[in-house]
Amino acid sequence: MTRKLKEKIIKNIFFLLSLVSIFVLGLIVVFLFKEGFPIFKVVSVREFIFGLEWYPTYDPPSFGIWSLIVGSLVVTFFASLIAVPLGVLSAIYVAEIAPPLVKEIFKPVIELLAGLPSVVLGFFGMAVLAPWLQNTFGLPTGLNILNASIMLSIMAVPTISSISEDAIYSVSQEFKEASYALGATKFETIARVVVPAALSGISTAVILGMARAIGETMVVLMVAGGAAAIPESIFDSVRPMPASIAAEMGEAPFRSNHYYALFATGIVLFFMTLFFNLIADYISNKFKQVGSATL
């Protein structure tokens, strides 16, 4: 066999393998749409998305998922509020400030967080955080937005910090030296050179962390409380979309309207994560070429 032929065969094998994964992914999306669309014969897209009532098992049922969407967005927002500063600052600390020994301990510990099974986190939220919140704030239940946001943020921190860290590491030493040589201190160098130069990577990290939070199921199923209503405070319970799907799919009769509605909820969720990923992609491309010139 000639070397050229070998190269060609190897190339095609790789192509086929990647084709398989794309194909499977495509299949899942097609299936999702096929199983979700029939609900729109019963309710309009508008009613479905903006409807305030989610009573899929009543007679007559109502299929409005607005409160589920709000639930997802709210916990994702508050989780990001906690996870973004924690993740980004710990990345800066590990990459730029920590002495070698501390770095060697911190880095694997943060990465270990990513490996925690979400059911374990959910369990912790239920058994430890919930009673504590309930007692401390005198609430009817500790399973609420705050609890879910805290647990989700713990899931998002490793994503945010490890991707940010890579971005910070890849800022070339030459920029830092240039900064020091102009009389900048370490913190000035971090704030004015390192972080701006790593900004596209950091933004990507943040958005992927948020995508992780919005799609996470087990934690929100266990600790968000499950109330399908628009929340009025961070101590209210919510029912984020993934929790709703996971909780109800078992009971919904096959190819019933409820079943279709859950799949349609999945479609909405799919578009949201897709949107997050597109933004991440856009940002990392946008800043890359111009070298974030105006920062």
Partner: protein, 256 residues
């Protein structure tokens, strides 16, 4: 050897320098004259960059380095414990081998140092940018694109941005570590011209591998070998009638 005169701006006294356990400079004593160009030459790894970075305390940034002896700048040993390296780096600017403008606009590159130093007034900054770019003879080429990224410029232009950026700090001394080694002959010639011009106002210490360059632009030349200063003389003397045989062998290309 050069005799001590009062117009020294920096005096290095019996300096030993260590990277961890390995010694990179041995017993170096040398003075740098004000408003002159001093070239440092020698084979790769002989400690030229180390010496240069010693002068603005850039070596502090490397873990495990150690300095013995004194580096006196304006009657003060810059390695005294009470000296702030940040202060030293503002007075002694540096240009690196590889052009390293920040991934920011040209304007923000030049104003980076002055802003850190507390200059906030916009018109003051604008004046500084114009003045520095003119000094680096780059003004005409970039005056209309000050808000574009400095990364878009050619290598030679980028290096002049780096020079302008250093000059914007109004330093007393300018350290240059092989500033033209990554550049084409035309850009190199421009920078050499620039150095000629700059020495009227600044003291310049330049590391170069290019003998002709050292001979062309410098007033004094120091030849280093294995971390030691072998010979230090006026450039003309060093290149025509060197005192030490090793120097002669090096400049005629017989070793190194």
């Amino acid at each position: 050897m050069v005799t001590l005169l009062s117009d020294n701006i920096i005096e290095i006294k019996k300096v030993n320098f260590y990277y961890g356990a390995s010694k990179a400079l041995t017993d170096v004593t040398m003075d740098f004259k004000k408003n002159k160009v001093t070239a440092l030459i020698g084979p790769s790894g002989c400690g030229k960059s180390t010496l240069l970075r010693l002068l603005n305390r850039m070596n502090d940034l490397i873990d495990g380095t150690r300095v013995e002896g004194e580096v006196v700048f304006e009657d003060r040993n810059i390695y005294d414990p009470d000296v702030d390296p940040v202060e030293i780096r503002r007075r002694i600017g540096m240009v690196f081998q590889k052009p390293n403008p920040f991934p920011k606009s040209i304007f923000n590159n030049i104003t980076y140092g002055p802003k850190l130093g507390g200059v906030k007034n916009r018109s003051e900054l604008e004046a500084l940018v114009e003045q520095s770019l003119k000094q680096a003879s780059l003004w005409n080429e970039v005056k209309d694109i000050l808000n574009q990224s400095a990364m878009m410029l050619s290598g030679g232009q980028q290096q002049r941005i780096c020079i302008a950026r250093a000059l914007a700090m109004k330093p007393d001394v300018l350290l240059m570590d092989e500033p033209t080694s990554a550049l084409d002959p035309v850009s190199t010639a421009k920078i050499e011209e620039l150095i000629e011009e700059l020495k009227k106002k600044y003291t310049i210490i330049i590391v170069t591998h290019n003998m002709q360059q050292a001979a062309r632009i410098s007033d004094y030349t120091g030849f280093f070998y294995l971390g030691k200063l072998i010979e230090y003389n006026p450039t003309e003397k060093l290149f025509t009638t060197p005192d030490v045989k090793q120097t002669e062998e090096y400049i005629t290309g017989r070793f190194g």
